[in-house]
Amino acid sequence: MPERSSDNTYFLKDVRLLDPSQGLDREGHLHIRDGKVAGIGDLEIPRSGKGPVIAGNGWVVAPGLVDVHAHFREPGFEYKETIATGSQSAVSGGFTSVCVMANTDPVNDHPGVTLDMIRKADDIGLCRVFPIGAVSVGLKGETLTEMGSLAQAGCVGFSDDGYPVRTSRLLKRALEYSAMFGKPVIDHCEDRDLSDGGVMNEGWVATELGLRGIPNASEEVIVSRDLEVLKTTNGHLHIAHLSTAGAVRLVREAKRRHLNVTAETCPHYFSLTDEAVRCHHADAKMNPPLRSEEDRLAIIEGLRDGTIDMIATDHAPHAPFEKEKEFDQAPFGIIGLETALSLGIVLVREGMLDLTSLLYLMSVRPARAFGLPRGEIREGGRADLVLFDPDGMWEAGIPSFLSRSRNSPFRGRKLPGRVMMTFVDGRKVFDRREGGS
């Protein structure tokens, strides 16, 4: 359990202090007191009475990671994940703030549901949890939710994720109305009609495996629609889980036209291609699907040139009995909170990104785009922090993830980058040495 005493005081000795929001990258110590960063740099190492001294071994201290797209499944699907297990999973992956999607049961289309989620998360007291409200009542694509009340209750954005916002007209109204509260409308861009029951990327692998394909156009058609609709409103459109080269191109062009659009991608889209379906089966099944190598490289390019604003996980837990099925019938989605940072570090090792840019994409930028609190490594800054060993190798999901589920194509893969500790408001909410596996 997290420590709850008011004197949460820690001294992190010999660490690399890295904060992309202020171009900070130096060695030194960091002192946490009363939920804040009390000092950084060449501090005097305390002898006693100032809380535990933690040997940093040159590991990185950075603002805690922020995920704008996760599914914690509570209420309704607690056998897949709960707010408690999702929170544990998050902090063990270095996340201090997580936005949770509305496709629960009941759907988060009512302030009561939102308040319940927040209350539960507060009781658990690990990461900060920010609900995302539904765009339409029951995710049915018909009636706009009471966005004002949802925002008052604590929703930080609106999405029918799992489904696209069904019609152009509903999207237009949602963008117009939500603009009043400064909250983004987040769209899962997919033309379901074009997907036509597809279960993986349309391409050679699908041809060979005899599985029905989802074409790239399925995503791009709706990204185009959304951008054209956005142009007619003052809203903020956020595009979830970008996966195709064409969609990256569309967003790049829209940004050139100064549209108020942000976009995320997920670690799997820059780490894997549809080839992964051959050996990982349903653990490599998600929507949008893993695409071609050309798409993967375009996603990385989008991260490099700022077209894609942030990395989100689309953490989507499903129970083993649901994934242990015919590929056609298994549900879409993989878990991602515990592997995201490591997969980002793989990109850094491959020279595609530098560590500062990666951390910007995983903390500073998503927090700014969604108006969320974030850690800052400066005196008086909020002590939402992650301490990680960028070179530490580990075997993903062995013996087990902290998530209640284990549907990940990265399970068993040796990855670099090991989260050692996570602090939220100066409280140590995760410590690898205390048996987090």
């Binding site: 050679w204 041809t207 060979e208 005899g210 599985l211 089966h281 009995f321 015919e326 590929f327």
Partner: protein, 314 residues
């Protein structure tokens, strides 16, 4: 005997050209047997073969059943309608069933691609794919090639046109692989809606015009058209499909004079095959049924008679 390296037959890619020839030789020797009065051999005595069919297919199931019985195996048929799959009978239950029955070999037909492979990783017996979704139907390809070899005397250097719904055909997928392996050049003929755009390392030329596609071909293989393709707009109507892609005596004029016509069955007469009487001497369709039993005996025998149970992969 021409042993196989693989404990299972899941896709044609599990086999080498040499192994395929071995299967043909073995099938030949079993076919000699079927012309005798006592048709049984004791090769699989004491072994249990489970035919697990999640899709109705009297032809394939019967063919496997006869094959297993001629090898003296005990045969258990389990035919489950598609509805019980929809109702959520889990594949793990299927695995438990196979184990409870003490199967030495299981023959699986399933509407979802990849299921035989999935099962093979979880059971300790031999698994034979009798058709999975849109994926593969390896014994069909083997019997097609065997029929071609019997009728043409060779495989290498022949030219074959596969006509119809390639996109949704496991028969086509297995045949394209098997034919390429055996040195046959393959053409795919059909409307663009029914031919996959991404063909990777399939070494096949694509034609949309039937006469052009079958010109100079030694073999024309017509595929069964699922009638629902018209309602899903893959084709405008069955009538138009029949007009553009139906195999008839007059169309066959464009192929080689000694062309052989194959069809995996069951045939939609008047659609993909028209006026069969008019090209009776070119048809290999009855041979396919006859040779099917020999091929399935050979596959069961070569996988199962050696005494290995196919563990290692379990």
């Amino acid at each position: 005997m021409d042993a196989l390296r693989t404990p299972h037959l899941l896709t044609v890619s599990d086999l080498t050209p040499g192994e395929m020839e071995g299967i043909f030789r073995t099938a030949d020797s079993f076919l000699d047997l079927s012309s005798r009065t006592v048709k049984k051999v004791p090769s699989l005595r004491g072994k249990t073969v489970v035919n697990l069919f999640y899709e109705p297919s009297t032809r394939t199931r019967t063919s496997f059943e006869i094959a297993a019985k001629r090898l003296s195996a005990d045969v258990i048929n389990i035919t489950t309608s598609q509805s019980s799959v929809v109702k959520g009978e889990s594949l793990l239950d299927t695995v438990r069933t196979i184990e409870a029955l003490g199967a030495d070999g299981v023959v699986i037909r399933h509407p979802a691609s990849g299921v035989p492979e999935w099962i093979s990783r979880r059971v300790g017996c031999h698994v034979i794919n009798a058709g999975d979704g849109l994926h593969e139907h390896p014994t069909q390809a083997l019997l097609d090639l065997f029929t071609i070899q019997k009728r043409k005397g060779r495989l290498k250097g022949l030219r074959v046109a596969i006509v119809g719904d390639i996109l949704h055909s496991r028969v086509a997928r297995s045949n394209i692989r098997a034919m390429s392996l055996m040195g046959i050049s393959v053409r795919l003929v059909g409307p663009p809606t029914l031919i996959p755009k991404d063909r990777g390392d399939w070494n096949a030329e694509v034609f949309h015009d039937l006469r052009e596609g079958i010109s100079d071909c030694d073999v024309v293989m017509a595929l069964r058209l699922q009638l629902e393709r018209a309602t899903a707009n893959y084709i405008p109507s069955l009538k138009e499909y029949a007009k553009f892609y139906g195999i008839s005596p007059s169309v066959l004029q464009s192929a080689r004079p000694d062309v052989l016509v194959l069809h995996p069955g069951p045939i939609n007469r008047g659609i993909e095959i028209q006026d069969e009487e008019g090209f009776r001497e070119h048809s290999g369709i009855l041979d396919q049924v006859h040779f099917g039993v020999g091929i399935r005996m050979a596959v069961l025998y070569l996988l199962m008679a050696g005494g290995n149970k196919g563990e290692g992969n379990a």
